[in-house]
Symmetry: C2
Subunit: 341 residues, 2 copies
């Protein structure tokens, strides 16, 4: 099942919690030679019990590998990346799965890893944490952001091919800052809103009565508030400025709704809700048109990089990447409907 273009047959996963564990299990199920390591001895034991090749040190786990997924908590990533880089060959592709990208991308560039580190973020998760919540199907078909850089196109292509082949990923190419800006609204602010709703109920004198009535809108709207507070806090802190910008925008929208409500202005209120519905309708009813694009494999990559970033910014994604003699070919999908309103 390993992608021909990827050629990344020997993999390692460092940090085998919810996401890292899911990556590892899926790679193994796909037939790759995969080694695992986790800082917690108990987790390493559980990996061994599941038949995974586990080393006692990071260095042993990653030595001789073609690709390493660095999957620990966000604040640990820069230091762990340096350790993994020092213990691997210059041809080994490195990636991470953190929920913000600018910080780790900057750290990697400072470490001189721009050629082989490809920042990554699979858009999937669960309320629970840890290996016990991991599963080979968690990331199946997920939107998976990769951040191609000007010097790292070869690594980007190989990793894209692997993710498409093994995870059936929809690879969304974006620069790290673009990812963080979009993820603020797509993921980080939703976590804050879920927390504010659940936290307000927790403080309310009516808490028990509210929970007695809690059904779809409350259950859905608070689901991610069930996640580990430290994990969510790390995510928000690592994208602080963008999250604050978008929280201000959400606050302004809330103020408009409250003003319309206070004034009893049904038209204004309906108008705001109709704006919201338009985004939701687009999300649920998007069609995509497929196309193929080729670029010379070895030449200057400026055109390829610009194409990829435009694709991601326009809401598109890749479902194929194949490098043949002298050329790289992408299969890509763009939203078919023009943006509404």
């Amino acid at each position: 099942m390993v992608g021909e273009a990827g050629g990344l047959a020997r993999a390692a996963v460092v940090g085998t919690g919810l996401i890292g564990g899911s990556v590892l299990l899926r790679l193994r199920d796909a037939g790759l030679d995969v080694a695992g390591w986790d800082p917690q001895p108990a987790v390493r034991r559980r990996l061994r019990d599941r038949g995974v090749a586990v080393s006692d040190t990071v260095e042993q786990a990653v030595a001789g590998r073609d690709v390493v997924f660095v999957c620990g908590p966000l604040p640990t990533l820069p230091a762990m990346l340096a350790r993994v880089a020092a213990a691997t060959d210059d041809r080994c592709v490195l990636t991470d799965v953190g929920s913000t990208k600018a910080e780790v991308a900057t750290a990697a560039t400072a470490q001189g890893l721009g050629r082989r580190f490809v920042p990554g973020h699979p858009m999937a998760g669960a309320d629970r944490a840890g290996l016990g919540a991991a599963g080979a199907d968690l990331l199946d078909g997920a939107a998976w952001v990769l951040c191609p850089g000007p010097t790292g196109m070869d690594a980007f292509r190989r990793l894209t091919a692997l993710l498409v082949d093994v995870f059936h990923a929809r690879v969304v190419p974006m620069s790290a800052p673009e990812h963080d800006a979009a993820a603020a609204l797509a993921s980080h602010v939703p976590h804050v809103l879920a927390g504010a709703l659940a936290g307000t109920v927790q403080r309310s004198a009516l808490r028990d009565a509210v929970l007695a009535l809690a059904a779809g809108s409350f259950a859905d709207g608070t689901r991610v508030a069930g996640g580990p507070p430290e994990r969510t806090a790390n995510m928000l802190l690592a994208n602080r400025d963008r999250v604050l910008v978008e929280l201000t925008a959400v606050g302004a929208f809330l103020d408009e709704v409250a003003a319309a409500l206070r004034a009893g202005d049904a038209d204004a209120l309906t108008g705001r809700l109709a704006e919201a519905r338009a985004a939701r309708a687009t999300l649920c009813a998007r069609g995509f048109t497929a196309h193929r694009r080729e670029f010379p494999a070895g030449a200057d990559h400026a055109g390829e990089l610009a194409y990829l970033r435009e694709l991601g910014a326009a809401g598109g994604h890749l479902t194929g990447c194949r490098v043949t003699a002298g050329a790289v070919g992408y299969t890509a999908h763009l939203p078919a409907t023009p943006p509404l309103g």
Copy 2:
């Protein structure tokens, strides 16, 4: 299947959209004699096509019925209730399924219907509207608020028995103002937050990139923003004061999160998120303890009413109501775990 205590074998449903249609289909599947009416001729035709007894006028539909569910849009309820009351016998139990209760309860009292109108609100729904989205299972096992009044205990008991028997409802007894206060946080504010999140994305220059990354937290957090704007606006306007109060509370929580984030205060941020997680943990892990309570059927109802309202305020619900010679027996469930934090 009809409840012995209910004795409400001949039912009518007025307004057969999402909720009314679901009520009708379930009552019919349970073997009741049920008649339907909708203001839209096309909907009446579709009901007839599905084998439902449909009348051309409200008055014909409700004549001679034991119970009538009044299910149109919120603003139409007081007038429709008056029409239905005028066309039915004094022994006919009336209820509604609107998402706010104080307004319709006050209107019913003003119409002298306190003895036979029981305000109701099943806590279930869907993003779509109309008979096409209705289904006999939509309300199965739902938390279903009923508002017992001092003069309407007999109607409350019979309706409770019917809802438990036919819908397997968890009947939550509350006064109308208590319902509206709790529903503000359990349902109305979640709709506003979903709208603010989706609406902010709709206005964002990054909209397409955000939607490309949208996964669990965004999809869940915006789901109810897909509902009809007019329906949501009616709901919010009918509970305006409580919604504004709770929006202010949510805004204060958001301000605390933003301040902690701006200050880079990981401890303060984690603390707020831990409060949120506590509510979520209670919601997901509540256990209930069952008990039975009896009251004299015909005497002064003050004790029974106080018991019922305390039950709902404490997060409890009824799963049984049986009237025997001179006594009414309830099967009730209360959250087993003491409130956290």
